[in-house]
Amino acid sequence: MNELFDLNYQKKRRDFLRGTVLGLGGIALDSLLGCKQGNSEKLKGGNLEQDINQPLGGPHFVPTAKRVIYLFQNGGPAQMELFDYKPTLYKMHGKEIPESVIGQNRVSGMVSNQYSFPLAMPASSFSPFGANGTYLSELIPHTASIVDDLCIVHSMVTEQINHEPALIFTQTGNQLSGRPTIGSWLSYGLGSMNENLPSFIVMLSKGGDNSQISNAAWSSGFLPSYHQGVQFMPGKDPVLFLNTPDGVDRMDRRRALDFIKNFNQLQNEKFHDPEIESQITQAEMAYKMQLAIPSITDLSDEPQYILDMYGPDVKVPGTFAHNCLMARRLAEKDVRYIQLFHLGWDHHGALASGIRRATKQTDQASAALVKDLKQRGLLDDTLVVWGGEFGRTSFSQGKLTPDGFGRDHHPGCYTIWMAGGGVKPGIVHGLTDDFAHNVVRDKVHVHDFQATLLYLLGIDHEQFIFKSQGRRYRLTDVAGNVIHNLIA
């Protein structure tokens, strides 16, 4: 069968060459005239343009961060309830937001037919914390206790106003799904340190709300598919379909894998399809993970006082606290990029109670993660990022009642914080207006944030390129500036 296939394959090629009217001369003329071969980069094993799309192999310059833990707060945490203290909002409670502030800003379809935009007083009180007296909300006492380690950015700006596009924009640099996410870029560019674990791990926490996020948020896009995030699930089976079925011996599995690998390699020699390599790599990784995963998920070696740090939820698999502890354990194993998603920040109504629930689920564990990394000496080269996809409006969505009021999506400014990995500790960057509505100074666009993140990992975002379908792509697309003021 195979020989027949070979013959057929070669015959086609010969026919093609013979059929080309000008023959080799034509091909030579083609190159003389400067016509470029368009799709050659697709044939990875081919002899043309082999130097394009090679992983970096190492950082461009000395990195200050080797790993990233991204605590993504999906839904859009309200900046004025948590981080961005605006006394004016208390004073002007119930009054219309001034026209000069709201300006021509885009509002979502959910409030665009609202005839009145009354300012809503934050559902929390603020007090100063840390060496610099940074004002933070009563809702996040644990985060406040580590404020001297945090680099708080008040002036984040995004281009998207709806959850999925904004999330995808933050993760991939483009609003449409289909491009590689930050974790995939890093896995592709820098490779893994721990050879028994994937370099990009994703954990979704339960208990937030019922909203969903698509797995485009950890997709590898056009990068080889073994760079996509591996999702850890709560419960007995953290990685689905990883365990060997009952009655199958590990040695049997090894032999089977070797046999399949041989076949795959034969195919790969013929077609040079990068996806075949992905398949081989993934199967090997799964085999190694079978041994590595149980030791990660078994928390019995954690002393009680460490568990207490993360809060009572930590023992319940799938909670944010549990995932934070898992993130620390994975960081200890040198996993390059650990992505957590917590849902439940989308408070269109009943914000006061909603944000209390969300902070209760996340505040203690987020702070504990930073402390725990720090005492182990890991925070030094691990970048922790905490933040959502956009902020919330300073005016009320719907009727302004003490408990029932909500806030709508707001891309014009929002707050995130970072810690470790070479960012300046104990600073607040950027300034918003008195209504936490517009950025007044030191705007940080999502692309700037991405450029800075890559810089901390030693990557020049303008030199980190992958060519796909004839176009060169970057995480920061065609924009982004490194914000050097955030870097220690």
Binding site: G58, N194, Y305, K374, Q375, R376, G377
Partner: protein, 455 residues
């Protein structure tokens, strides 16, 4: 279209008549012996030279159609070339048909010398057309270099030196063009028929029309060419030439976006972000590097034993001789392997041995790596006995002894020279009091010790 393309072969073909006629000249006047034998060869050579010359002239005619050349120079080159073809033809005629005793034969030698002169001049003007008139002038070359140096000096005017008469174009934009563009787009050598040494010509544009549309960067070919990918054929300046920096591109972009006026005064816009960024020269931000004396790269053969046992060794960054050595994949690593480090001792900068079976014995080898900046010994079997080894690491900035057997007495033995910045000693035998005592002696060291969780 096709004849234009064939025209591109003119610079190639002209070498044939030049070479062939020179050969004829040498054979005629410098070969003394056996003159009769060469006579026929000279005759054939002249014929070939004549035919090749006519063909070259034809191709040259096609090429001249592109209109990229200085017309005066072109005309001169053209008529010289045509004359050369004629004289060569006459020479061949004389050589073949004139009897030696005929009067007309006396013209042969002078005509040959005239031909050679024509050849020289045609070649020279042809070269001037292709490479620019200054190509063969040492003085011009010197001047060019001086001009470039002056341009870069001019760029460095300080924001404090701005006087009211300076314009953005004259003092910022034009110097950029002068230093990076006008070597190909000048009064003599106008590639793409585009010159940008003066504002009027910049406005006029080139072969494909206007290159710069004020207020509209989207429609300005000049901006498009600057922003194209470096590997694109149309990118300017071409690959291999000195490239525009990001700040320079930003400045030109901003200037065109805002009217591209030659009159715009610098002083009026000096608080503008782009102008400020240009003066701050942001592209010169120094990339992070290790503050170590440079060493030579490790021998790749010395890295193989590491690879064999899955002990990760990688340069800290691309092209750096310094290595990051990480034992994350070898938890079974013990003291028998530390001798491997001796081969790459000067290069080891970051050493990560956390959760391995290293003990005090292995530390003796580690002490011989003089450039270790970061040392992570978390959860290893080391005790106070290792302090002596650690003290030998004069560059050490980061020390992690979390979960080790080192106690307060050991901590006090830690001889901290100025380099140490961070110490992590949680979960070891060190107590709160020990840390306090150490801190009193070494206030500059940042110690992380979350003791409150122990109580």
């Amino acid at each position: 279209m096709i004849y234009k393309f064939i025209g591109h072969f003119h610079p190639l073909l002209v070498h044939i008549p030049i070479g062939v006629l020179l050969l004829a000249f040498i054979l005629e006047f410098f070969v003394i012996k056996k003159k009769a034998v060469y006579s026929f060869i000279i005759e054939i050579t002249l014929l070939i030279g004549c035919i090749a010359g006519i063909l070259s002239a034809l191709l040259g005619w096609f090429l001249s159609d592109s209109g990229e050349y200085d017309v005066a120079l072109l005309i001169r080159h053209q008529w010289l070339g045509i004359s050369l073809c004629c004289t060569t033809f006459f020479l061949w005629g004389l050589k073949k048909f004139a009897r030696p005793e005929a009067v007309i034969s006396r013209a042969y030698t002078p005509l040959f010398f005239v031909t050679m002169l024509l050849l020289l001049l045609t070649g020279h003007f042809g070269g001037s057309l292709t490479h620019g008139e200054d190509y063969l002038s040492f003085q011009a070359m010197e001047q060019e270099e001086k001009k470039n140096a002056a341009a870069s000096v001019q760029k460095q005017i300080q924001i404090t030196q701005i006087t009211p008469d300076l314009t953005v174009y004259k003092s910022l934009v034009n110097p950029i063009f002068t230093s990076k563009c006008t070597s190909c787009h000048n009064e003599k050598k106008k590639k793409g028929n585009f010159q940008l040494h003066t504002f009027e010509l910049l406005l006029k544009g080139g072969k494909s029309g206007k290159k710069m549309i004020a207020d509209s960067v989207e429609n300005s070919e000049l901006v498009r060419r600057m922003l194209l990918d470096k590997n694109e054929e149309k990118h300017m300046p071409p690959k291999g030439k000195r490239q525009l920096t990001k700040a320079e591109i930003d400045l030109i972009y901003w200037w065109i976006q805002n009217g591209a006026s030659p009159e715009k005064k610098l002083i009026a816009v000096k608080t503008n972000d782009t102008i400020k960024a240009f003066f701050a020269n942001q592209e010169s931000v120094i990339k992070p590097a290790l503050h170590l004396q440079n060493v030579k790269e490790a021998n790749p053969a010395d890295l193989l034993p590491f690879e064999k046992i899955h002990w990760l060794v990688k340069p800290v960054s691309k092209g750096s001789p310094f290595l990051e050595v990480n034992a994350i994949n070898v938890p079974s690593l013990n003291d028998t392997y530390t001798t491997l480090l001796l081969k790459i001792a000067p290069q080891v900068a970051w050493l990560q041995l956390a959760d391995t079976k290293i003990t005090d014995a292995g530390m003796a080898d580690i002490a011989k790596c003089p450039n270790v900046l970061k040392l992570n010994l978390k959860n290893t079997g080391i005790t106070n006995a290792s302090l002596q080894s650690i003290n030998q690491l004069k560059q050490l900035e980061y020390l992690n002894i979390v979960g080790t057997g080192i106690d307060d007495i050991g901590l006090l033995q830690l001889n901290v020279n100025k380099s140490l910045k961070k110490l992590f000693c949680w979960d070891s035998k060190i107590t709160k009091e020990g840390v306090a005592r150490f801190k009193a002696i070494n206030p500059s060291v940042e110690i992380d010790f979350f003791n409150q969780f122990l109580n």
